[in-house]
Symmetry: C2
Subunit: 267 residues, 2 copies
């Protein structure tokens, strides 16, 4: 981590997942975790996710709230050719512009379908519509592009396409301080170590964040709590990890570096 | 489905997932899909999900927005004994009441820890705190209860505990019309069928909802789009499924009942 990163402010992001199928439970979302990890590696903190249905007002309101509150907004879903794909109309409405054929995207898809001898009909042309002023994002999987509109990045919901689009977006983003994390796993229950976690976190006064994650176990012995210490300050991270490790041992605990898959019954 | 269900209005729900670990990508959420499915089976539509960090203002604001907008709100995460478990303080603040030891919950946990010869210390006592006026929700996995506060149901984040608490909550909820769904899978691309989906949905004027989900395929042949027709009106559902099936065959497509796992390349 270099000095620029150390002193730069937090860069924040939100994600808007658009799709009835996630809310009904038909589909398990596979994009939130991927985005959270990829942004984190680049010093961008995913701070909020919203999942909304294919309802215009809900999408427009969410976009306008999130794009003002966070540095970046990433959407997934709703950019295909069918009637339930209303993301572009909604983004256009949120920005108060028209949703029109993008000259480059339109030609790209027209040529693509011509080369396959497939009719470039009205439904397929919808995939070449973007809010006026949008910049296209490449889709190497299925051709129909995503796009960026100001600080809002619009991606497909199909995970393989989303990941391909994100790969093209990531180099364009400006990250802040990269938050590094260190995991310790212990056999001590949360209820015993809670006050010490709080004390150590308080000593570093906002520089570190300790998360405590009990494992879901059916057995009664073994490593039962993962402690994740996170900081963008490597020195603070290192010192606090050492302090925590010493405290856990002082309390009679076993401690291992990293996470251990076991399960917890009570705190 | 009986007449009461047919004519009852939509019952709506939102979910608030509280936890830095989901946003950072460290943990894959496993509760959203389960809640969406279980509510749907009881005629309650999950209409929005928000995932927020362990930040008081974010949690309080989300709770107050969602509990006014939806019939039910379900939260997961942040009710353990450690410093990062701040859900109860936040719910209390959202309702403008104190977060105090719940008489029944306090005795329950005091007796439980006494029986295990484990100190019922301040950290563990935190798990017996609820907003004043809360009704406890049983936790048969790890004892520390969830609770209900007006229309807000507060559950643990560990999936096995969340599911156990939800099992106790579901019989208490009043559902509306149960939305049934029927899946058709076809080898026709979305771009070809898009206009017909829209026409059929329009004929039923709000009574049915058709979702179109392309499969992520690497091969070029096979079944590539799942169409999910949803309705709380069984007659409308049945007629629209038949109409859609006939239209797909008329367009030269193969159609199968249900979903087929294949993958799509372009629309």
């Amino acid at each position: 981590m270099n000095m620029t990163q150390k002193t730069s402010p937090t860069v924040s992001a939100a994600m808007l997942v658009i799709g009835n199928e996630i809310l009904s439970g038909r589909t398990q979302d596979a994009n939130i975790q991927h985005l959270g990890i990829e942004l984190g590696l680049r010093g961008i903190q995913l701070q909020e996710v919203r999942i909304v249905a294919d309802i215009e007002k809900d999408i427009v309101d969410a976009i306008n709230t999130l794009r003002q509150r966070y540095n970046y907004v990433f959407t997934t879903g709703g950019i295909g050719p069918t009637h339930d794909d209303i993301t572009s109309e909604c983004i256009a409405k949120a920005f108060g512009v028209a949703n029109t054929p993008h000259p480059i995207g339109f030609k790209l898809l027209a040529d693509f379908y011509a080369s396959k001898d497939i009719e470039f009909n009205a439904a397929r042309q919808r995939m070449a519509h973007t809010p006026e002023g949008a910049t296209l994002i490449k889709n190497e999987v299925s051709m129909a592009p995503g796009y960026c509109m100001d600080n809002v990045y619009v991606m497909a919901g199909v995970p393989r396409i989303m990941r391909n689009m994100l790969d093209g977006i990531l180099p364009l983003l400006k990250g802040g301080a990269v938050v590094k994390s260190h995991a310790l796993t212990t056999d001590l229950p949360e209820g015993l170590i809670a006050e010490h976690l709080k004390s150590i976190q308080n000593v570093f006064d906002g520089k570190i964040d300790i998360g405590s994650y009990p494992k879901d176990r059916k057995v009664k012995k073994g490593y039962i709590v993962s402690l994740i210490i996170r900081s963008s300050d490597e020195e603070a991270l290192s010192i606090s990890v050492n302090q925590l490790q010493e405290k856990l041992i002082e309390l009679g605990g076993k401690v291992v570096d990293g996470e251990v898959e076991e399960e917890v019954l009570f705190a």
